[in-house]
């Protein structure tokens, strides 16, 4: 297990570093001058050049990259061109929103997907199963922003049960503000989870040991929960890990639709303004979150299923 974990960890660090280099290169290949954007179109070329110099943008690419890397090693992610504060502090203000959104969306996804998949597997090839599978296909085809707007129209504008958007100012308001976005985000992964969990459970249901369990006279609910679900858990867990990583990416859109000031909206603003240090820092943090989630999934799966460690 130790050597497996070590190998995964090295790969994780490699991936994060790769993302950092790729982001840096893409940012500098793309046209667009942050100094010009900050100073406006009336700015003199001298003022633009002076600002570029103060940000170190007049140096060579390798030297700029080295500055970024050495800063990173010392724990400095640079200072935002636009807000004039450190990228770390901006991320600190925003990361809670994104993590809370991802956590609640994951919870919703599991709470919705597990019962649906169980029902479908227990009623395999019957109308209920077809209904669940049909809905999953429908869900897969539904763009998150559109679904989000429908939820806002119904629950916020008409029923006035929940806020249209925003993060509010108290923990209660934060939670209220997260319900619709988390539901929207979860719907991006629920169909995938339902389908894979259903297949997993159906396979287990057909297995011989289930016949044995049933022959002992154990109730169907207990069979499903204690024996089937447990065995279908490992592939689903892996899938959930990958999909939660996908959720992290989709928060960029969901935060935009619901006016949540998380990392996703920070990243979009930073790209538009060519706020290089912030883009670089947020990408790094998002990449790290995804990598850590994948790593945890791998390790958990290996823990649950010894066969994985030997691969």
């Amino acid at each position: 297990m130790r050597s497996y974990a070590a190998r995964r960890l090295v790969a994780a660090v490699g991936v994060t570093l790769g993302v950092t280099v790729a982001t840096f290169l893409l940012l500098h290949v793309e046209p667009g001058d942050p100094a010009r954007l900050v100073l406006g179109e009336h700015a003199s070329p001298q003022a633009v050049a002076a600002l570029r110099r103060s940000w170190g943008l007049d140096r060579s690419l390798p030297s700029q990259f080295w500055r970024f890397l050495s800063g990173l090693l010392r724990g400095h992610l640079g200072k935002s061109y636009v807000y004039g504060v450190s990228a770390t502090s901006l991320i600190g203000q925003r990361i809670g929103v994104t993590l809370a959104l991802v956590a609640l969306a994951t919870l919703f996804a599991v709470v919705i997907a597990v019962p649906l998949a169980t029902l479908a597997a227990a009623r395999k090839e019957r109308p209920l199963d077809h209904l669940v599978r049909g809905l999953s296909v429908l869900g897969l085809g539904m763009p998150a922003f559109w679904f989000g707007i429908v939820l806002i129209e119904v629950f916020a504008v008409h029923l006035k049960l929940l806020p249209v958007g925003g993060w509010g100012s108290s923990p209660g308001q934060h939670l209220e503000g997260l319900v619709l976005p988390a539901l929207t985000a979860s719907f991006a992964i629920v169909p995938i989870l339902v389908r894979s969990l259903r297949v997993g459970m159906a396979e287990v249901l057909d297995a011989e040991f289930i016949a044995t369990v049933r022959s002992k006279g154990i109730g169907e609910v207990r069979v499903l929960l204690a024996h089937v679900a447990r065995n279908a858990l490992i592939p689903t867990l892996t899938l959930l890990g990958i999909n939660v990583a996908f959720l992290v990416g989709s928060t960029v859109i969901v935060e935009q639709v619901f006016d949540l000031n998380g990392l996703g909206s920070l990243l979009l603003d930073a790209i538009t303004n060519r706020d290089f240090p912030v883009v670089q820092a947020v990408t790094l943090v998002l990449a790290a979150i995804v990598v850590v989630l994948n790593l945890l999934t791998d390790l958990l799966a290996a823990r649950l299923d010894p066969r994985i460690r030997l691969r």
């Binding site: 793309e30 046209p31 667009g32 001058d33 942050p34 010009r36 954007l37 100073l39 406006g40 179109e41 009336h42 700015a43 003199s44 001298q46 003022a47 002076a50 600002l51 636009v82 807000y83 004039g84 504060v85 502090s89 901006l90 203000q93 925003r94 922003f145 707007i149 806002i152 129209e153 916020a156 504008v157 006035k160 806020p163 249209v164 958007g165 925003g166 993060w167 960029v252 935009q256 639709v257 619901f258 006016d259 000031n261 909206s265 920070l266 979009l268 603003d269 790209i271 538009t272 303004n273 060519r274």
Partner: protein, 529 residues
Amino acid sequence: MTNPYEREMSRRTLLRRGAGGATAVALGALWPGVGAAASRRAAATPTLGGTLKFARSVAPTELDPANSIIAGDVYTLDKIFEPLYVTSPTGQLTPWLATGSTASKDQKTFTFALRPGVKFSDGSPLGPADVVFSINRSRKNAKGPLSFLDSAITALEAKGSGSVVVQLAEPWAPFLSDISVFANAILPDNFGGKSEAEFFAKPVGTGPFTLASFQSDASSLTLAKNPGYWQSGKPYLDAVEFLYVDDDNQRVLQLRGGQVDLIDSVPPADVSSLKSDSGLSVGLYPAWEVDLLVMNEKLPQYADLHVRRAITYAINRPALVAASSFGTAKPGGSFFPPSLEYYSASTPVLAASLSAAKAELAKSSFPKGFKTTLLIDGGVQKWRTFAQIIQQQLAPLDIDVTINALDHAAFEATFQKLDYDLFIDYAINDISDPDEMASFELDFKAGGSGSYWSSYDNPAVIKLVHQAEAEPVPARRAALYAKIQALVAGDAPFVPLDYPPYIYAFSSKVQGFAVNPGGAYRLEDVWLA
């Protein structure tokens, strides 16, 4: 849903986002109320108190007037700091912290009388030293995005306890307009003894509001009533909460859901549905803004006058506006918008005519047409619509247009390097005087943009622009600008496509809200019914 690339944060964004169209609302009808319903109730006694929740597409990042240009900063700090003059919602220059000014005979010395009894929010009185300090600081700020507006000034000095004398290098007709720009807002002399950083963390101004709280990531900013404001009885509101809501849909939905009272940059497509909601009102405010199709005269085809005129004739501007603005914009004519002083309604515009376009092209060196690219900021729906319509309208001339859509920053960098054939952008004026727009778009060498990156260079036009700058008599200036507009219409360096207004929407309880053609809204007159 808004394309994320539409999130550029400059002042220009606010203009562009509100963009979409001109309006049937006459300039004079806007002040003091907004729309018929608002002005009916404006006669009522304002209610005191309450917090205005204002969701904006722009975010404040810093509050130093001398360093600001982006909309989120400018339209926030102007509630805290005030200049000597301001522009009213009808576009009139109005004495503000000054009660007036007198000019010497040679038009090179201006004396401002300061308004008596004005106090900063810390209680200290406004004096001439504050004015001298503030305007000197702004004009000498090498990084100042709008410092160039003060370039005519050579010296300022305090005179007595209530006057300031300003010396100019030469007679400069736009001077009072320049003084009204937010960059020339008045701060206490020497920051009231604090360091610059300390001062802007807790800014002190003469404005109707003071800073109550500011999230450094710009997501929200709250202003509180300045109880010692010089206009007694105002502001009516206790507080203003600015929220940064970038997404167009989200802003509209927050207003409809009653979460906020007022929103900016309403997409033209949403105007009619918002108007039909009985609890909401929509305000269209004429802007000093023109959308332009710019042609690159560094290229042989666009250096050819006949090609430029052919393209201008071929573009049917009323059709373009009808297809894109949902009845909010007016079709373009002169390169000056109708809201700008010295706009000439009698400018001989090359109105849409396919036969005239074909005749012009036949006279050019490219009678059989050519292939060309049209560069746009692809994040803005309106530009995509414009580009597609222009593509179709130029097809009968065998001008084969390929659309090149980039994200905002890349778009700007590309046309500023002159690496384009055609591009669409919007031109704005920051002050009430048209000289800024005239010199920026026409003065190839000194204007700062190489004639809006078109490289259009007509010495006769440039001479007239400079004459107008030095001409103090309004009637004579009007005649000069009419001549300039006629010459430019004939030379066709760019096609003025449309005049879009600012579009705001608000709950019916919001009273007294108005926007001036520069895009600024003063909130001391706003109250909640």
